[in-house]
């Protein structure tokens, strides 16, 4: 499963790159991806509240944090959206933040679908 997955580099995840970053420890990478999925709900809820309340510093901080963990796991599209979210917070651009919030949710769903398909995470 992991060998097939390693060959698949798409806009969602560069698995090969992430695996190399973890020193080739596929089990550990899988554990980290599961942690990321668990934490994402928390980050998403907080950033949603921040967007609703026009709390730009919070939008920027959560965007920055999410960007960091997404990049560590080579979650390409999510790290790009998070980086844009950080900028939207800095620029105090609420319409951009609202648009990105929706993109974040959709892209996370796409990631989950992909990861379940390749059996990297278990279906709930």
């Amino acid at each position: 499963m992991q060998e097939n997955l390693a060959l698949q580099t798409n806009r969602l995840i560069n698995y090969n790159e992430a695996l190399k970053r973890m020193g080739g420890d596929a089990l550990f990478l899988s554990e980290l991806i599961n942690d990321y999925i668990t934490d994402f709900d928390h980050y998403y809820s907080n950033i949603k509240v921040a967007v609703e309340e026009n709390d730009f510093p919070e939008i920027s901080v959560i965007g920055h944090t999410l960007k960091g963990s997404s990049e560590m796991l080579s979650l390409i599209s999510l790290s790009l959206i998070s980086a844009q979210m950080e900028i939207a917070g800095i620029d105090k651009n609420i319409s951009s933040a609202e648009k990105l919030l929706s993109e974040l949710k959709n892209e996370f769903k796409n990631l989950m679908y992909f990861l379940q398909k390749v059996k990297l995470v278990q279906l709930n």
Binding site: K20, R21, M22, G23, F28, E31, L32, D35, Y36, D39, V61, H64, T65, K67, G68, S69, E71, M72, L73, S74
Partner: protein
């Protein structure tokens, strides 16, 4: 084992670093925010710190400034971890005192290699501290007896004298000389003489109060300073020291030898308007008075004489105790 702190609020990144550092054999502490990280830094000897720039509470860069402002603590090698990638941020990081700067996403092999550099710096720093301590020890202590040397004990006396003046409290001094030490050296040899010196030093050190200081003043002379010490108290100390030396024979490399000491005892009472040199001169004379009185005894300068030391009463020592073997 090296103590290493990871200050990172993102669970994924923290877990990656923690696993990597544990594999390297470090004793790892973790903090999820700046306040927690600061508490860990305050209460533990953290040698390497990996700090995320953007932490809740105190940011990593501010933690770095705080670490660097505390000059008392051992050196902490700081690696700043951040997703900030521009040159200005990097310059800010180094200006705050960080040693290395790693941008996210990082590779665990890269992190390990950089940590090794930190380890080398920490190792060099401990060697430097060790060397400084050894030099300080050599500069302030007598090599044979391991007591403070003449300069060091005189410096302490100066400090205590100033403190006694400031706080209007008495200060005691005892000058000690080993009786017939030349005869011991001539009869049994200098190595045996050294054995006696070492054992006398040990017994004297064990006989003083924890907050008193003792130093080797000359060949077989010792000087003790007793801060905030009354006359009654110094008499007890002097008598205890005398008994500790004469009460038990000295086991040397040649044979069991009897030894004794003579002492000059003085308590300077506030207000003491005489310079420290005069006090040392007077106590020296009291010591020779004790020698003249048959040795293995102590002679004190009475408090009433203190204001006149060095003057016409300088020779009026009171014979306080005498005990001959």
């Amino acid at each position: 084992m090296i103590n290493l702190l990871i200050a990172e609020d993102d669970r994924v990144t923290k877990k990656i670093i923690e696993k990597t550092m544990k594999e390297c054999g470090y004793n790892v502490f973790c903090a999820a925010d700046g306040e927690e990280a600061y508490r860990i830094l305050e209460n533990n000897n953290i040698q390497i710190a990996i700090l995320d720039w953007m932490l809740p509470g105190i940011e990593g860069i501010e933690l770095s400034r705080r670490i660097r402002s505390d000059k008392e603590k051992n050196y902490t090698y700081i690696i700043l971890l951040t997703a900030k990638k521009n040159q200005a941020d990097m310059i800010d990081g180094f200006s705050a005192g960080v040693d290395d700067y790693i941008t996210k996403p990082f590779n665990t092999h890269d992190l390990k290699a950089r940590i090794k550099t930190g380890e080398r710096i920490i190792e060099l720093q401990s060697q430097l501290i060790e060397s400084q301590n050894r030099l300080r020890e050599q500069a302030t202590h007598d090599g044979l007896t391991k007591l403070l040397n003449r300069n060091a004990i005189l410096e302490i006396i100066e400090v205590e004298y100033a403190r006694a003046l400031r706080n209007e409290i008495p200060m005691g001094m005892i000058m000690i000389d080993i009786d017939h030490f030349k005869r011991i050296n001539d009869t049994y040899g200098h190595q045996t003489g050294d054995d006696i010196l070492q054992e006398v030093a040990l017994r004297l050190k064990n006989g003083i109060r924890p907050y008193d200081s003792i130093g080797r003043y000359g060949g077989e002379e010792f000087l003790i300073v007793l801060p905030n010490c009354s006359m009654n108290e110094i008499y007890k100390v002097a008598e205890r020291l005398r008994l500790q030396i004469s009460g038990e024979k000295f086991r040397t490399r040649t044979k069991l030898i009897n030894a004794s000491i003579s002492m000059g005892v003085l308590v300077a009472q506030y207000p003491f308007d005489k310079p420290l040199d005069s006090l040392i001169n007077v106590i020296d004379k009291a010591l020779y008075e004790a020698k003249g009185n048959g040795r293995n005894c102590w002679v004190s300068v009475m408090p009433s004489d203190n204001n006149n030391i060095g003057g016409e009463n300088a020779g009026k020592f009171s014979f306080a105790n005498k005990q001959v073997n």
